[in-house]
Amino acid sequence: MTVLLLLPALLLMGLVFVWPMLRYGWLSFHADSVLTGLNPVANGGANWIRLLDDQRFWQDTLQTTRFAGVSVGLEMVLALAIALLLDQRWRGRGVVRALALLPWALPTTMMALGWRWIFNTPYGPLERLAEVVGLGPLNLLSTPASTWLVTVLADVWKTTPFIALLLLAGLQTIPEDLYSAFRLEGGRPNQALMSITLPLLMPYVLIALLFRGAQAFGVFDLIQVLTGGGPAGSTESVALYAYLNAMRFLDFGYSATVMLAGFLLLTLAVLVLAMLLRLGGLIRPVQS
């Protein structure tokens, strides 16, 4: 009986999550491009051989990893600060919390336009500010070195509230008595942070890290609209490359290969990270 209750939901989930991976696995051993009339034709491991040699793929993987790493790192620090602030008791806390949540609620593609304008040379507000101060044209969106940082900024702005909420939830599970006892024993506030707050918050931090890291690796919306992968492919993410292969180059077989490879690399990274953290004793085995 219970099974019947579960079945529709699980079936739908299976269709949406499991089927694609199986399909990609199969497709990656076939040529399915405009040359084959968009029909799969077996080609052995040709897609995989091409992938290994594909400079663009590996460059994108590195870029995406760099983006995810820096972005999530910054988000953690910022979110912790915000969570600590919101954990204190002051008037209007609820309103501020709601307002701080707004960036997260907006669709990424929508604010991506906004960011393009804010960083626009020569008319955007930042550029004009720089002029006034005498810094000269910043050209932040035309040089590879700075453009990826702009994408990081946009990503941090959007997702920090979400992580801040997660960490806030964690903070609120720490009993007040621990702090009182600490203070009674003569401990100072910043020491409290290091000895009580952070250690007890660790599980939440790690969950957030894992969650956000995986999501950041799949970044697509932001990059496609904000930079289109440019300049000169310097901000292109693995997901965007896969998308271009399918929708622009009409090469479904290779697109599937790219996505499967990306997924496998991500899974590997997550597993390795989880194992390292387990060994470091930072994750205790799950008890229920």
Binding site: A31, D32, S33, V34, L35, T36, G37, L38, V41, N43, A46, N47, I49, R50, D53, D54, Q55, R56, A232, G233, M247, R248, F249, L250, D251, G253, Y254
Partner: protein
Amino acid sequence: MVFRRRFIAFGLGLVLLMGVVWGRQQQVQSVTILMPAPYADATAALVDRFNDDHLGRIHLNISRGPLETESISDLAISSLLLGSPPFDALLVDVTWLPKYVAAGWLEPLDPWFDQADEDDLVAGARLGNRVDGALYRWPLGADVGLLYWRTDLMPSPPTTPDQLTAVVSKLKQEGRASQGFVWQGRQYEGLSCDFVELLQAFGGSWISATTGEPNLDSPAAKQTATWMNELISNGFSPRAVTNYAESESLQAFKAGDAALMRNWPYAWSELQGNDSAVKGRVGVTTMVALPGETPAATLGSWGLSMLRETPHPSATAEAIRYLTSQDAQRERFLNQGYTPTAQALFRDPELVQRSPVLPQLEKALGHAVPRPMSPLYAQMSDVLQRQLSGILTGDLDPGEGMAQAQASTITLFRSAGGKA
């Protein structure tokens, strides 16, 4: 009695009239064409005239699409992949045509355009419209790569690579053109265009005409890459050229800092503007070539293609013909500077007076060279750009780079389903 008969007659007459009107209404065929917004704007007046001329029979509207080349294609593809696109024809860039044809999305235009029509076109405009012998695109404008030269700095333009480097080096010694020869060296499609001209000039080809296999590791290809690299390493072109697109190279030439520039025909009118430091001192010719090789000009052109699924093929063909007629071309040239495709217009006194370079443009069009007509062209170009960019920015040996480009191209074909 009489009254009733008259009433019936009147009633029948009314029904007949309504039938005719209704029939007429049913016959208004609606044709929609997707174009980038600038082209759409350039044809607005024309479209109105067409609709007036064909009132009650055909109604044409232009769907204004994104400004950027790739975005138009992305938009079209997203509709075509899902089936039932909301337009009957679209403006197609020469490099996408094979892809669209291979996907089975286009309808051949042979029933409506014959040999006589094609003979009216200037030589370059006849290229890039046929795939496997069938006509899939009718050109709207034809552009080719040109070599711009400063008439005040040299008596005549160079015609061989050695002459080019000689004149640049002489001018640099005299301190008269600090940037020398500017071209498009950034890692993007423009780099492939520049490469194609020089490759032909050195006697090579990207894809072998006989076997259909890539030819990027031929001696000619390696020589081309080496020459391009030496332009920079020997100072004939500024190092910054590795980040130049069309607008940067135009800027340098326009400011008077360069003696030679490779660019498209649009640059000419920019250079005659009042803010140009070289107004009236610019000439145009074809790119240099080795003695014994014919000079080449990379073909870049837009044309109208009909979609297979259109419910009104004849009406669409008529719209296409109208939009590409000689009158339409004349108007577009005079108002917006778009290059015509009809041979006759290149000799037209009014047009030549407006733009004295038309004869050279026609000559260059005679040497037009299309980029490889392969459905996989975009990926091929990406592979080439990557290697070339690596070579030009100094890291990569030209011979190795081209060998790598060749290997990657072969891997690409194998992965995507066989030969070009």
